[in-house]
Structures are given as C-alpha cells and as structure tokens.
Symmetry: D2
Subunit: 268 residues, 4 copies
C-alpha cells in the first residue's frame, strides 16, 4: 500500500558523488590525515552464543575527502558570514554559531555544469581558471538554469587525478577551478551549496598554493553559500545528467567547520 510518489522515486537512479576514504587519498597539509584502525576484530571476544563483533577508531579532519564547508570555516577581516565576529564565535573551542551542526539536510534541485565536455576535452589543464562567462555558456548549452536554494556542481574532470595525490593537490602545477567571477555569478543565483571536483574548489595558479581563496570569500563569507570539495562527478557526467535531486547530509559535529559527506544525485 505504498504511496505512488514513493514507488516512483524509489526507482530512480542514484549517483554516488563521494570518493572512498582511505589513508592514501589526497589530504591538504593544513589538515589532519585520515586513519582507521580496528580496535576489536572478530575473535577478540566471543560471546557465549558464538557471536563476536569488530569495531574501529577513526581519526580525520572535518575537511577530509569529499566534504562540505560550514560557514564557520572562513572569515574575512575577522568576520564570518553575516558579520559574525569570528573570535567570539570560536571561543570555547567550538563554534557557537555557523558550525556544521547548523547545516540543515540538503535535499534540493541540483545542476551539473560540465566544463570539459563543453570544451571537448576529458580534463581541464592544471591551473586553468573557470570564469563566469564560460559557465554561463555551459549552462546555456546544457539547457539548465541555476537552482535557487539548490546545488550547483562544477566539473573540471580533475577527479581523474584523485589516485595521484601529488598531481591532485597541484602545489607546483596549479589546479583548475572557478575564479572570483564564477563565484560571484554562482552566488548571484542564491543556491544553498556549490561543489567542485578538486581539493580547494578554487582556481589555483602554479606555485601559489592557497595564498588567497577568493571563491571562499565570495561564497562562504559574503553570500552564505556552502562549498563541497573533492566531488566525484565522473559517473554523473558520463550519463550527461545535468539536472537532478541533490542530497547531502553533513554530520552534526557540534561546533566544527566541516564534515565529510557522501552526496548523491538522483534522477529518473
């Protein structure tokens, strides 16, 4: 006696947009590495009925793997989004406001803007900026508009390098990504979140590292738009799936600035 809408939507295809979490994955040097160790293994303790359990201890950062940035993550001139004083918000060792625990579940319309497909290449070159003009043309070519209150995912194809942390992080070669004009254009559409398939979301020129992060300033600080980094958009792009239900459910680490996530795109 299931409801019709439920019957229908439960048949939709689900695209997993997250990378697996393992020690060898790329990690920004500013953040703790990822480690999982089994505390107990099967056989360590066996219950009277033959049952046994295994479990683990995990160490990670809030910005490990595919993850979402809370608004508390970045400040500008001492202020967080909405003019909140950063020093005051972080007093006590966890953010009193704008932390990841305040992010409501994201369950909204999402669009993918596939830049390399628009250009006819597999992956954008290192250090290639993605500007507002190009994104506008990609959206037009794909026939999508940006979803107010939803999710805007920008693909560079950089996830191809995920298994090669040195290239992926691109400290010397740079990394492709949205520049300030792109961030402004996205923010103007008032989505809740925007994501990219690189570590920093940002366009990084060669050798400059994270000297400045203009897209973070525009999106997080000025417009309150969350950022998702390290997306895996490859399967979604292969299916030319440009519009979908986007679901992202960050863990509520009280007072933290980010959370690993496993976003999905859902479509008929």
């Amino acid at each position: 006696m299931a409801l019709d809408w439920l019957e229908t939507i439960a048949q939709h295809r689900v695209f997993d947009l997250a990378h697996p979490l393992e020690p060898a994955m790329p990690v920004s040097p500013n953040h703790p590495g990822y480690r999982m160790a089994l505390v107990r293994r099967h056989g360590d303790i066996v219950r009277s009925d033959g049952g046994s359990a295994a479990n683990e201890m995990i160490v990670l950062g809030g910005h490990t793997g595919t993850h979402l940035d809370a608004l508390a993550h970045v400040s500008h001139d001492g202020l967080l989004y909405g003019g909140v004083d950063a020093a005051r918000a972080q007093r006590g060792g966890r953010f009193q406001c704008l932390g990841i625990d305040e992010v409501e579940p994201i369950f909204a319309r999402g669009v993918l803007l596939d830049v390399p497909r628009f250009r006819g290449v597999d992956v954008l070159p290192a250090a290639e900026p993605i500007g507002a003009d190009e994104l506008r043309r990609v959206a037009h070519a794909q026939g999508v508009d940006l979803p107010r209150g939803g999710a805007v995912l920008i693909r560079s194809g950089w996830a191809h390098h995920w298994s090669d942390p040195h290239t992926y992080l691109g400290h010397t070669s740079g990394v492709p990504g949205p520049d300030a004009s792109a961030a402004e254009w996205i923010a103007a559409a008032q989505p809740r979140v925007t994501g990219h398939d690189s570590m920093a979301y940002e366009h990084l020129p060669p050798g400059a590292g994270h000297a400045v992060l203009p897209a973070h300033r525009v999106l997080l600080v000025e417009h309150g738009v969350h950022i998702i980094e390290n997306l895996d958009l490859e399967r979604l792009a292969a299916q030319q799936m440009y519009e979908f239900l986007f679901v992202c459910l960050p863990l509520k680490f009280v007072g933290a600035t980010g959370s690993p996530v496993r976003p999905i795109a859902v479509a008929p």
Copy 2:
C-alpha cells in the same frame, strides 16, 4: 525550467533523524569516545587579503552517535553474512569485503512503527522487549506494510534519555528494544535496513549488558539487513509520519564496520 518531479519533491518536508555529535553524548564503553578539537582558529594565520580559516581534528568510532552497522560488524561462529570467513575478511586491518564502504546509498521507502504511541505511553519502560506480535499489530493499526528493500524504523521513545547517558545506556536497568522474534519478522520482509532509537537496537534485560545480541545475529549475519542505532524519531513520531522516503548515506571508510550517519525522512 526545472523538471516537475523535482519541483514537487524539493518542497517536501525533511525530518532529520540524527542526534548531534558532541563529547557528552552516550558512548558504549566498547567504542572510542568522540572528540573534536580545532587545529586552527581564525586569526592563527591571516592571508594577505584578510582571509583566515579554521579547521579541526576529529576522533570517533564507526559506531558513534546515530550510525549504521556494516555487515562486517558482527560474526557468528566465525562467519559473517553469506558465510564469509571473518578472520580472512579482516586480515590486513581493514575488511576486504562487507565493510561500510560497500554499502550503497540508501534511498528507499521507509516506515516507522511507533510502539509507545500504540501503547498510549510516551516512552517504553527500561528492559521492555518488543516482540513480533506487537510490531505486527502496530503496523496494522498504522496501516503500513514493511518495505522490501526499504527501511523499517522501530520507535521505543528511548531517545528521551539521550541527554542522560547513564539512563540511556541502561547497564543496570536494561533498555527496551526488538527481541529475536521481532528481528525475524523484520528480516522476513527483506528490508535493506532497520533502525531503532537506542544504543544497541536490541532488547537488553537489566544487568545483562551485551551478553548476547540476537537481533544483530538475525539481521546482520543471517539476513544481511543493516542496523541503524541511536535514531532520533521524536519529530517524525510527533507528526505521525509513518511512511516516507528514507535517505541514509554512510561515509565510505574503507574496510570499517560502521559509520555515523544523518538519516532523513522525507514526506509531502
């Protein structure tokens, strides 16, 4: 130009079924405690343009807070689900199969069976078993059937005690929960997952602790049904929302036995 189905579903109500993650929450003594510490705070390093970032280090278990059990979590007589040899699967320090990283996103029909409402109480008493017969009558009274491939959520109201870890864990007093007959009845419906609002999912008699965990054996080992523990079903129950879209997206910790999750229920 958004698609109709997307316009519609994006308007649905979203119920957050997870507790916040903080050090004071209940933790089973078999599992590592939860801790978050800010590695960097705003002002620690300020970029040339006035930007600054905060981030954290987090320590937790795979079975911290609201979480999902992978099939690798429990064995019986040395075997995991499907007859997999547990000792072999765990060799190397991470599960080669049946780990949390193999759990596909859960996006399916879900039902809530609200036992205390059926009984006309707020919360079940400590150490109260929930049997198959009662669940059958609850389902009938609510007019729902169990969703094959979906989610079966059983409410005891025990989440009322979440902020009082001693009572919630119930080492001396016991904890209400599904007994073996309930687990068999749920498993027979072939859902992908079943969840409860207590630490162990199981009915725990007073003073017995986790001596044996029959529902884990039936569900995880014999039928391959995932278990979610520490759900917060209060808001969902208050709305008498018994049928919904259930979404649960465990993190892909490679080779681990569980993951904190933030499940949601979605309904018009």
Copy 3:
C-alpha cells in the same frame, strides 16, 4: 672498562612512579580520553622471509595518566609565567613559548614528603587539605630539605583509588591535596618540579570541582615550577625512600601544554 661511577649507579634501585595507560583509567572530563588500537597485527602482512610487524594508533591528551604540566598550561588574568601574553603565545594553534617541548630533561635530586605516614594513616581522607605547616613538619620528621632545582613529591596515598575512577576524580566527595599555603612553601624552595598522587594536584573541596586552582596559579604562573599529576608513589613510600635521584623526561610535543611521563626515582 666501564667507569666506576657508572658501575655503581647502574646498580641502584629504580622505582617506577607512573601508572599504566589504558582506557579504563581516570580521565578528567576536560581532557580527551585515552585509546590505543592496533593498526596492524602479526599476520596482516608477512614479508618474504616470514617476518611480520604489529603497530598501533594512539589518541590521548597531554594531561593523560601520569603527566607533567608545561608552563603554558595555565594563565592568570591573561598572562603566563614571566608575564607572557597567553593569547599571543597560543596564536597558530601551538604555543610559541613555554610549551612542553621547552622543558629540559629533569635529572635532579628529589624528595618525597609522605603525609599519610606522618599521620599514621594509609590514605588521606577525601577533601583533606595539606598545608604548609604540616609539610614543614613532615620534612623535618623525615630529615629532608627541599631540593632547589629538584623535585618535591607530595604523597596523600590517593593512588589507592586509581582503579576506581569515580572515587579518584572525587567530583562529589573532593580530593586531598596541597593548598595554596603548601604551594607557596614549595615554590619558595625553588624546585624545578613538584608532583602529587591525584588528578589535579590541588586540594579539592567536596562538590566544588575545579572552580579555582590556586596551587596551579602559584606554581606554574607565579614561580615557573612544573607540576606532575597522577604519580604512583606507593612503592617508594613503602620503602621509606625519601631522597633520591629523580628523572622525568617529557616528550617534546611541539607547542603542547603537557606530556604523559614515566618518572623514576633512583636510590642505592
């Protein structure tokens, strides 16, 4: 052809003054719990010659178990020892000065003041203050004076309760320990370090918790004397060993405020 002094001293008795580190031990709620998990076990990976290795991941606080406080640990009115501005010293997320990494190895004369023996009891009662007058009389009775540049260890016998964390922490009942007058008297002797066999070093009245910590202020902030907590002085006291070589070698966690230690007392 070993040197004479070496031959002699290497025959001395060595008293281990540290508790073992395990998850069940007492931990102050302000500090992270202790956990150790084996990352690899023997057999996980076997080298071509039959060799295999096991290793672990450990999570702890700088103030876990028997530990030494760096001068960076406590401030008063915003200032650390020597008038160092605490806010400035901690900027960057690790102490630029007065951290545990600046503590030179401690290899010096030490004395034990055994208060319960002086009183003719096994253990001091909960919430019992130890004042300067009594310590002066204990020292006189034992025939020791305080070692300038050395170590002053005060015994209450509270280590008897180590295996019972509830009693040991004494949140409701209080804990015996040196009061402000004792701290002043010890500081006047200019030792490098003073230690005690409780979690806080301080006298804690019933139900007051760590409302104020006067001995920390006097010792760490005003006089630059390090504090060791959670010593196990039982074997030393049983031998009535009141004067000895004291060795304590804190780990150099750069910029941290404390380190677990395993101090020893050495005597003929």
Copy 4:
C-alpha cells in the same frame, strides 16, 4: 643535607637524544601521522579568579619520532621472542605479553659507536651497510666495550636529514644502518637495548624499502633486545662522549608495541 652521590650526579651533563615531535617530521607510511590540536586555549573558559587553562588532543603511533620497540613489535614465522605465539598474544586487540608496558625503565651504562667519525666523514652515504667488523674496530678505536644489560647506540649521522623527510626515509636512495652481522655482534653482548639514528635502524638498500628487516629479527625476536629508532646523537658525538649513563623511560601504553621516548645520556 643532600647525599653526596646525589650532589655529584645531579651536576652531570645531560644530553637529550630525542627529536621534537611535530607534524612535519618523517613518518613511515605504515604508521599513523602525528597531530596535536589544542582543545582549549586560554580565554575559552575563565575561572572566577582569572585563571584559565589550555590543553590538547594528540594522535600518534607507538613508533612516532624517537621511539622504542617493544618485543611485541616483530614476529618471525608467527612467533615473538621466547617462542610466544603472536596470534594468541595479540588477541583482544592489545598484547597480553611483551607489550611496551612490560618494558622496565632503562637506567644503565650506554656506549656510542660513532661510525662516521671513525671513517672521517660527517654522514654515512645512503644505503651504506654497517657491518660487525667495522663496529668492532670502532669500539676498539674509541676504547669502549659493549655493556651487558645496557645500551649500544650506533651513529650513522643520518639525523642530519631529519628535517628533509624524503631523504631521511630514503625510499628510493636507501638508508645506512647496521646489517645482520652487526645485529648479531651487538646481540651477542646481551645489551638491553640498541639504538640508531634512522627510521628503520636497518641498512636499507636503494628501492627495496622494508622488504626484509633482518636486524629486527635478530634483535627483537631472537635475542629480546629492544631497538630505539630516530635517535639524535649529534650533540653527544660532537662531544666525543662514548660512555655514559643511558636513561630511557617508555610510556606504559598497555598492550602496545612501541612508545615515543626521550632518551638521555648523562656524563660528568
């Protein structure tokens, strides 16, 4: 009224043989990285009297930085030192025997064998083996014999590369160190411990990594001699201090395979 021997020895020089612990230091990829984060900073919570405290959470491996190997660390053909069954000893997730918590404080005669000085160079070349014959000649030239029950420290000068983790780890170039003959010669003298100034203690040929670790087998498994890795012997060597009191106090992590240490050498 201090004792004479105490007055004398407390004047001796103390040489610190440990590297500082910080995230940028070399870490073997088999082991967890090191991280320290301040949980609380001064000002987060201020007591009524103006007092405030800072503390931290630390993640590390038992084999982080300068550290000592317990006998549980390495097995050969499934057996630990003394024929102990490795699988049985590690059941439960912590070693029931031969763990680091069983290592008594080391307070004994120590000698330094300075190989590069004997050769007239600053640092041995990468991938250079140190054999028993050469060590015998070094000991003779220096006029020391090996201390039964004591410590034998072998210097290659490799600590010069500590601040350059790529070179220090030497995955491609190899690392100098004692070969199997050296380990046999050292073990025959029955010291309690032997140490070296590299990550693996062992001679590592170019590109071979840790394919086999013969010195670990000889020392830990066959003779029960502990190994210290990543020593900083530079100051000791600069003073040509070849015989000394050696003190090393591993933390008692119950059931673990190693501990960071801060060994010292003490001499008039």
